[in-house]
Amino acid sequence: MARTENFRHMDILVLVLVTILVLFGTVMIGSANGWVYDSENFTLDGLMVRQLIGYGLGLVFIACIQICDYSLIKIVAVPAYLVVLVLLVLVLRYGVGAYENDDVSRWLPIVGDISIQPSELCKIALTMVLAWFFDKVGDRINRIPVLMGALGIAFIPLILVFKEPDLSTSLVILAIVAAILFSSKLSWRYIVPGLVLAAILVVIVFLDALSGDPKLLGDYQADRILAWLHPEDYQLTIAYQSIQSRTAIGTGGLYGVGLFQNGGTVPVPTTDFIFGIISEELGLIGASIVILLFLSLSLRILWIGAHAEDVFGKLVCIGIGVMIAVQSSIHIGVSTAVLPNTGLPLPFVSYGLSSLTANMMGIGLVLRINVESKKNKLRRYGV
């Protein structure tokens, strides 16, 4: 009985925002893949069907998380983290890229054509385990050994993801870790030197990329940074995608060229550049609505975090809220050629089952945390 009660306290706004994003994304995936709405002969494109299946699967995950005991979720954090570490090691060994002969290993084949992307799961699992850790250590956070432990927990998966190589997901993970550290009781005496160190690192990385013979970065990553700085030199190679996408967005104007009317020039339109398709077809109006939806969703999640009763819940919400905000911003930045081309999906919108289900699991956690704080509040006020 107590379990079904959980559903009553669920935050409808978050669920509605996510559903709008997924359904809207599915239509845009179809459009990017050449599908056109036809009321007479209505069929769905294969990718759309798969994306909807992913959404259904995500809903099942959300429901499962809701009926779990709150303490169980905390307990699961550590094993989930360990499983993800194993998957990250496996993907380095057996993983494949998106295309044949791709020299990257991001997908781990499971059975048949089903494969998972451990880096997507990693974001959620790492958020959970860091929240669990800071929940456990409480006020001892500013002790050096504790802080070292936290950094250890964070950097092992970060390095594994970086080695795939998946620079963009590494950046998102870095943002999550930074946000969680910042919002736990970390003293400013660590934060300030940390920021300075980060700034120095960024400068070093850029200098390394510009040196022509990168030692820290792979050639692949150095080239992308160079292409971002000097797109005109790379307009037929690696900057090509960003420039194509930016041009398509430009043709969209205020109202867009119309739904399903894209010119087919946006590269990888169902995943890495779906924002390009959205802006081309629906113009600034459509793009603004999408940005507003993401803003609302991440702020609502942060609000839930601010009202959470325990440190675990608070930090999980902050991690997930920041993840959604940072990842969607990077995606938009890449699509508009403001950021280097890193190949990152737009959460809930881009095609990709691993990404969609992992993100929805995160939403499940947020909802569960919200339910818990509402229940506690009700209990306190004796209703």
Binding site: S183, R246, I249, G250, L254, G283, S329
Partner: protein, 919 residues
């Protein structure tokens, strides 16, 4: 406490507020960048979109040409336009575009040409049928794969009904369901539409590889397609160079042919920049000199107007190149004369054997033999008989139906309801039954590994069992797979056997081999009259009545046999069509002082032009049992008979086992080996006392048996060692350049020196196996007195602009180190072959002042077939310049190759002979 809590919450909330502000910030920044692109810079991008776009296209490289030694063209290029479709383009309404395309093609007199075979054929008389390659009897898997495709399922998931789909049903399924084609106004049009869709469908796994739709299209078609570019999204017209071989079958083997690169070749040459549209050499010089001949594709950048999509400008980024030209050492005229002389002699030999009497050893042929041969080698093919509505073909077919059903019923009755053991069955029923078992094995309905079950099998194979007991045994042992027949549950043996037999009979009824067997049976037993079969050939236009022969037969002025003889004389039916002995041969002519090849021919041959463009012809050639694709001169390895004797003689003389005065008395049967089955001389009349020269003259086996025997170092008590003699013979075969590869540039078979029976090997039998080219090279060594030259047929290679890049220098592979005097002795014997033993055949040549020397050869390969005929020799005797070798397998004895040799030599010296007394 409460105060403390509040304070902490406030502090943390403050940090959340920082994060909130940060998030607001990044979203605001991103929105601003979108706003800048879409609103502030909108004009810039609108211009960009309207700007001209660039497209890169490939231009085909031009393949180098091949010429004879005097620059006469053997392989050239003709320019043509081809239409392709890229499956990747996913045309939104492909059917509509194709209907319109067919219209354009028809208006301009062009037609489609697809590389994908469409499994269903159609003609007005018979309706739809499956092509032979998709025949259930011969290729069940291919048909089921096709059916699985049209039913959109897997081969294993096909139901029995689906497997039994007739060609017409399959076609309708394809039209209505698989491709949802619009109704066309004629069946032919409908078929064309389905063929194109099927070809594109088959390209789905490689969607970036363009599918050829039509080649050799007119410029008006090209213009019509370019005019409506937007309707033909995904279609491209490309200029292509088609390979043409002006000399056709004359150079089919040497020059070879080049065609569209296939998947395997693409993978093999992955690092050499070939694409799916390229041409690549497949055989002969085209294959072996691919690197020289190949023209590398270029790229051209095409500028398209941003608004209209019209071509504005073209820039060549990388020019297409033309490959190098190759000049052969072959003289086209000598090649033609050699081919004609060889063909004429094979034809004469065949004609001389058509007596109307049949013989078990293939000495003579009856009319029935000829008819059966024509059916066997598809001259009168099953498809012709079945696809015709002609009076005679229909009658033949009806006879077949009746006989076939009658015999099958008889066989079924005998199997199910009699106690006859297999050997008591009539011959034809045995044949049918064996075919049924063969087809069951081929289709894996029966998997009987009899090697592990010898006892039962030997009983069975001796014919001592009833068929019923055999089938029952196989069922019990699980060798026959019941599930194939849907009999998993059935227990009644009679029902089981009947079901199996009936289903297998159904398979037989669709099998070409079975049909051929039945039609032969009908001919052999004269169940269809001899004259009707002749008229059937006229009716199907396989032979023609331009000579009035049909009326002559009808009025009784000409016998059927003579009519057929006349058709062979007139070349309407060729020896290759009949595939009766002899039907093949090869001839080689080289310069004996350099090794350069002047002519090298092989009969039967094929026309590479038609082979590449005409599917029906392609199938005909591939299925032709006479083997037109084999280059016999280089690859047909056989025992060479007495032409080997020079080698034996040289070995004996050089090693001192004999000298020019050593004599032997020819006693017919050589007594010292094989006490029961002594080797014998070919002539039962003794050659008397012979020495090495006269032994070569008469080709006396006895003398050379004795040399072979001596070479094996017999001891006093006549025990000898084969291996000792064989080793010496093999050593000399190698030193003389007989048993080593000739070094020719276009690939050749591997010669083999005999490793059994030294005595018989000494006359060229044993396991000796050499090609005409091997023999020719060895005769060169003898003729020039001991230098072994590699054979070569590439003379020069020129770049496209005419610069000489390469010229072949003769390669002397080795020096035999054998004294000149030994060669003189052997040559004296070879001269006597011409002046004494075969003086009559060579009289005309001698009279013209051309003195030749040579050696005949007769080799027996099969007891029930005629002997092979060989001749190898050189001219002139006094001053050796050229060597020619002629091989006519199953030609029936030594002298039969001589006329070809003589004509080749005469042609080389430009002499025309009076060849009235050829035979």
């Amino acid at each position: 406490m409460n105060k403390e809590r509040k304070r902490r919450r406030w502090r943390k909330s403050k940090r959340i507020t920082v994060i909130t502000v940060f998030i607001f910030g990044i979203f605001a920044f991103m929105w601003a960048s979108v706003y800048r692109i879409q609103i502030l810079d909108a004009d810039l991008y609108r211009e960009l979109a309207a700007e001209n776009t660039y497209e890169e296209q490939t231009t085909s490289g031009i393949r180098g040409c091949i010429y004879d030694r005097y620059g006469r063209p053997l392989a050239i290029n003709t320019e043509s336009l081809s239409l392709y479709y890229l499956p990747d383009a996913n045309h939104p309404d492909l059917n509509e575009a194709l209907v319109y395309l067919l219209d354009i093609l028809e208006t301009n007199g062009d037609s489609i040409s697809l590389e994908q075979t469409f499994p269903i054929g159609y003609d007005e008389k018979t309706g739809f049928y499956y092509l032979p390659e998709y025949d259930v009897g011969s290729n069940e898997v291919a048909l089921y794969n096709f059916l699985a495709e049209i039913y959109n399922t897997s081969r294993d998931a096909l139901t029995y009904e689906q497997k039994m789909t007739t060609a017409e049903e399959a076609f309708n399924q394809l039209v209505q369901n698989t491709f949802e084609l619009p109704q066309m106004d004629s069946v032919e049009k409908q078929l064309e539409l389905a063929q194109i869709r099927y070809a594109i469908f088959c390209g789905r796994f490689n969607p970036t590889v363009p599918v050829l739709i039509a080649d050799n299209i007119s410029e008006t078609t090209q213009a019509a397609i370019m005019e409506r570019r937007s309707d033909f999204n995904g279609f491209t017209v490309q200029t292509e160079y088609t390979r043409e071989y002006p000399e056709g079958e004359l150079f089919a083997h040497i020059v070879g042919y080049a065609g569209h690169i296939n998947q395997t070749e693409l993978e093999e040459h992955a690092d050499q920049g070939y694409d799916a549209n390229d041409t690549i050499g497949k055989t002969g010089v085209e294959l072996y000199y691919e690197e020289q001949l190949r023209g590398v594709d270029g790229t051209v950048q095409i500028e398209l107007d941003g608004d209209t999509g019209d071509r504005v400008n073209e820039t060549i980024l990388e020019p297409a190149t033309q490959g190098n030209s190759i000049f052969l050492t072959i003289d086209r005229d000598l090649q033609e004369q050699a081919y004609e002389a060889l063909y004429a002699q094979i034809k004469n030999l065949l004609l001389s054997k058509i007596t109307g009497q049949s013989s078990s050893t293939g000495e003579t042929y009856s009319l029935t033999d000829l008819y059966c041969a024509l059916i066997d080698n598809n001259f009168v093919s099953i498809q012709t008989i079945e696809g015709s509505q002609g009076e005679y073909a229909s009658a033949f077919r009806q006879t077949y139906e009746a006989q076939s059903e009658y015999l099958l019923a008889q066989l079924e009755e005998s199997i199910l309801n009699s106690n006859l053991i297999f050997s008591q069955y009539s011959e034809i029923l045995q044949d049918i039954y064996n075919q049924m078992i063969e087809s069951m094995r081929d289709n894996e309905h029966l998997t009987y590994d009899y090697q592990n079950d010898t006892e039962f099998y030997s009983e069975y194979s001796q014919g001592n069992l009833t068929i019923r007991s055999f089938l029952e045994y196989c069922l019990n042992q699980g060798y026959i797979h019941r599930d194939i027949y849907g009999l998993e549950e059935e227990t009644n043996l009679d029902v089981i056997l009947q079901t199996i037999i009936e289903q297998e009979f159904d398979n037989l009824r669709r099998s070409n081999d079975y049909k051929k067997c039945m039609y032969r049976y009908i001919i052999e037993n004269q169940l269809y009259s001899e004259s009707s079969f002749l008229y059937l050939m006229y009716e199907e236009e396989l032979i023609h009545n331009q000579d009035g022969s049909r009326e002559a037969v009808a009025s009784g002025n000409m016998s059927i046999l003579n009519c057929l003889i006349q058709k062979i004389e007139e070349d309407e039916i060729t020896p290759a069509d009949l595939n009766l002995d002899p039907c093949s041969g090869s001839a080689v002519l080289t310069d004996c002082n350099t090794g350069e090849v002047l002519a090298m021919v092989s009969y039967p041959s094929f026309d590479p032009n038609r082979f590449l463009s005409d599917t029906a012809y392609y199938n005909e050639i591939v299925q032709d049992n006479s083997g037109p694709l084999t280059f016999r001169a280089l690859n047909e390895m056989r025992a060479i008979g007495s032409t080997y004797k020079m080698c034996t003689a040289i070995a004996g003389l050089d090693l001192g086992y004999i000298d020019e005065y050593t004599t032997v008395y020819d006693d017919y049967a050589y007594p010292y080996v094989n006490s029961v089955d002594h080797p014998t001389c070919w002539s039962t009349v003794s050659h008397g006392v012979v020495n090495v020269v006269t032994a070569l003259e008469h080709s006396c086996n006895y003398f050379f048996y004795d040399v072979g025997y001596r070479l094996s170092d017999p001891t006093a008590d006549h025990e000898f060692d084969d291996d000792v003699g064989l080793k010496k013979l093999a050593d000399y075969a190698e030193r003389l350049g007989l048993s080593t590869q000739t070094g020719i540039e276009i690939g050749e078979g591997t010669p083999k020196a005999s490793d059994q029976d030294a005595v018989r090997s000494a006359i060229g039998q044993g396991t000796n196996a050499f090609s005409a080219a091997n023999v020719n090279r060895y005769t060169c060594t003898v003729a020039n007195g001991g230098s072994v030259y590699n054979l070569f047929l590439i003379d020069e290679i020129h770049s496209a602009d005419g610069a000489l890049l390469y010229q072949t220098e003769p390669v002397k592979a080795s020096d035999t180190g054998i004294s000149e005097s030994i060669f003189s002795i052997v040559k004296e014997g070879m001269r006597l072959v011409v002046t004494e033993e075969h003086a009559a055949e060579f009289a005309s040549l001698e009279a013209a002042g051309i003195h030749t020397a040579g050696k005949t050869g007769t080799a027996q390969e099969a007891k029930d077939r005629p002997d092979h005929s060989f001749f190898t020799g050189y001219a002139s005797y006094e001053n050796p310049e050229i060597v020619a070798t002629v091989v006519i397998p199953y030609g029936g004895g030594s002298a039969n190759a001589i006329p070809v040799f003589r004509d080749i030599i005469a042609n080389y010296y430009g002499i025309s002979l009076d060849t009235e007394q050829d035979m």
